[in-house]
């Protein structure tokens, strides 16, 4: 299982990459693997929306399961990955790259301190 060390993680299996004031959010390799073949992904927020930490930002469906994706931090949505609608399987093949879901402009960088690092997340999913 792939858990890149340059990202932060949530208990609900989202990752966030922070560059400057921008956070890029997706779901982890563990999450895509548990869902198995993903057939649908939809971002449920729009550019310009302000979302509070823990708000639902996307829905991902496989044949047998559905998962809501929650934002790990509060902020303003500045970009949405439009490509996932037609190619949701990318979430299976490249969860940390092409399958990012949204980019958010951080409001309170201190929220990042509450997230897990790679080691802590790896320990969680091993349980």
């Amino acid at each position: 299982m792939n858990v890149p060390t340059n990202l932060k993680y949530t208990e609900s299996n989202e990752w966030i990459k922070v560059e400057g004031n921008t956070g890029t959010i997706g779901i982890t390799d563990f999450a895509q693997n548990s869902l198995s073949d993903i057939v649908f992904a939809e971002v449920v927020v729009g550019e310009g929306d302000t979302v509070g930490k823990g708000a639902s930002i996307a829905t991902i469906e496989s044949v047998k399961a559905a998962a809501d994706v929650y934002t790990p931090i509060s902020g303003k949505v500045i970009a949405i990955n439009e490509d996932l609608g037609s190619a949701p399987e990318v979430i299976n093949s490249d969860p940390y790259g092409a399958a990012w879901l949204v980019k958010i402009e951080l409001i309170d960088p201190a929220e990042l301190d509450g997230l897990m690092d790679a080691a802590a997340y790896e320990a969680q999913v091993q349980e």
């Binding site: 073949d37 057939v39 649908f40 469906e61 044949v63 047998k64 399987e89």
Partner: protein, 487 residues
């Protein structure tokens, strides 16, 4: 190649039905409002009959084989039900006729209301809900209306045990309620400690499936209900598992406030490949005024010369209509026929033998298929479809392999609290010979799982089709003849 689709069978110029020529003068058609094209198939009657008959032969059904599907109560559907529901006096009766011309139907509905009250221990019953989930919605809307009528509109929390039926959370959400899941204790009962923690002034109620989806009767049921009532909440009973309780115990006597029946499970109306169902709701006296409108009642008791007059009445604080007309009357006719043929003793015999059959299967299978929460079960039980020494085999593989032995698989992967769940409900209809043959197949499969696991992984082998590509179905989304919905 399987059976062609209708659009492929269609041949221009063919007719399946001829109508008589008009016996009235023709009127001009409204040209601007006419459709340009009517792209429907063109087939002869034999084309149609053969097509659907061939399709029917691809199905497993109760009439052709054992169907031990947990929580679905796939009992025999007596043929007389189909005759009575089709009597022209019922089948050709318009729902909006004057009640004076529909007394036979109204008497039947009234009696069925009364019988369901008696069987469940309730003060009033509505026949309007169309299915189990629809009955749940009706019940939770009644609970909501009750709390609001008492100025208790802050009560918006519904507790749902993790051993409850899958529809319960969606039903609560549809009724504007918050859902809090309650875990089960080590014996498969509602965890009383967890329940106590949730009993506060926001509690609207608890949705209790008893026996639960493990097939277990809650050992603390009276205490569970007492705690909820003490906190000002109501208890909803999911009556999908009533087949275990007929003549054994009345949910209303236990203190359950509202419950839906499934006529298509307990009372033998056919499942029809997914419906129609019928989900009457029974309520205790304090909820009777909230039932959907209308109910069947006696408008005039009559006298020595005149029979009583049956008609419709709207309860004073009704939640309103949940469906057009009077519910699934045709299903009510079937259930009425079934109950009338059983009487009180016959109903008790149903429950006793449903429970006997389930415990017999459990006793014969439990040494090979691990049964967690293993105590005397009710009408069904849940076993695990996995073995440590056959790690590649899953419940799904056992289910698929059973089809090769001409049995419908049990419900699998539900309830979620058992790993690799196989939920088995034999019903009272099945003979010892059938149960023994099923056990033989299950034991043979357990052996195969250890000796030839690939036989299971690739099963079924002897069905009209093999395992399907569900990912392709969901991605390409072909929902109509020759058209992809994903273009």
């Amino acid at each position: 190649m399987g059976e062609p689709q209708l659009c492929e069978l269609s041949v221009p110029g063919r007719h399946g039905l001829r109508y008589p020529a008009p016996d009235v003068p023709l009127s001009p058609l409204p040209e601007a409002l006419l459709r340009e094209d009517l792209p429907m198939p063109e087939l002869s009657e034999l084309d149609v009959v053969r097509h659907y008959t061939r399709l029917s032969q691809l199905n497993h059904s109760i009439d052709t084989g054992f169907y031990p599907l947990g929580s679905c109560t796939m009992k025999y559907n007596p043929k007389i039900n189909e005759e009575t529901a089709r009597l022209p006096g019922f089948a050709a009766l318009h729902p909006l006729q004057p009640v004076e011309t529909a007394q036979g139907a109204l008497v039947l509905m009234y009696n069925l209301q009364e019988w369901l009250k008696e069987i469940g221990g309730f003060a009033a019953v509505t026949l309007q809900p169309a299915a189990g989930a629809h009955g749940e919605l009706t019940g939770v809307l009644i609970m909501r209306a009750y709390h609001h009528s008492r100025g208790d509109s802050q009560r918006d929390k519904i507790l749902i045990p993790d051993s409850a039926h899958g529809t319960n959370p969606a039903t609560s959400a549809m009724s504007g309620m918050r859902v809090v899941e309650l875990k089960s204790d080590a014996r498969g009962n509602v965890d009383l400690e967890a329940l106590r923690l949730e009993c506060d002034h926001t509690l609207a109620g608890l949705m209790l499936t008893n026996p639960n989806t493990l097939g277990l009767f809650d050992e603390n049921v009276l205490e569970v209900i007492r705690l909820v009532h003490e906190a000002g909440g109501l208890v909803y009973g999911d009556g999908a598992n009533m087949n275990a309780l007929l003549g054994v115990v009345r949910p209303g006597d236990l203190g359950i406030d509202v419950l839906h029946y499934n006529l298509h499970k307990t009372f033998s109306t056919p499942h029809g490949g997914g419906g129609p169902g019928s989900g009457p709701v029974g309520v205790a006296a304090h909820l009777a005024d909230f039932l959907p409108a209308p109910l069947v009642t006696i408008l005039d008791p009559g006298d020595e010369d005149l029979p009583p007059l049956y008609g419709l009445v709207n309860p004073p604080k009704s939640i309103g209509r949940v469906k057009s007309f009077h519910g699934h009357f045709g299903m009510a006719v079937r259930a009425y026929t079934y109950i009338a043929m059983h009487g009180a003793e016959g109903l008790r015999r149903i429950a006793e033998h449903a429970v006997l059959n389930a415990n017999y299967l459990k006793a014969r299978l439990q040494d090979v298929y691990h049964v967690p929460y293993n105590r005397v079960c009710m009408h069904e039980f849940v076993a695990e479809g996995r073995w440590e020494d056959a790690p590649e085999v899953h419940a799904l593989d056992i289910a698929k392999r059973l089809m090769d032995y001409k049995f419908h698989p049990p419900t699998n992967y539900f309830p979620l609290i058992v790993h690799e769940a196989l939920m088995i409900e034999p019903t009272e209809s099945e003979s010892k010979e059938t149960l023994d043959a099923f056990v033989d197949a299950m034991l043979k499969i357990a052996e195969e799982a250890h000796t030839q696991p690939e036989l299971l992984k690739e099963a079924p082998h002897h069905t009209p089709i093999g395992r399907v590509d569900e990912v392709k179905a969901a991605k390409e989304l072909v929902l109509c003849c020759g058209v992809s919905a994903n273009d």
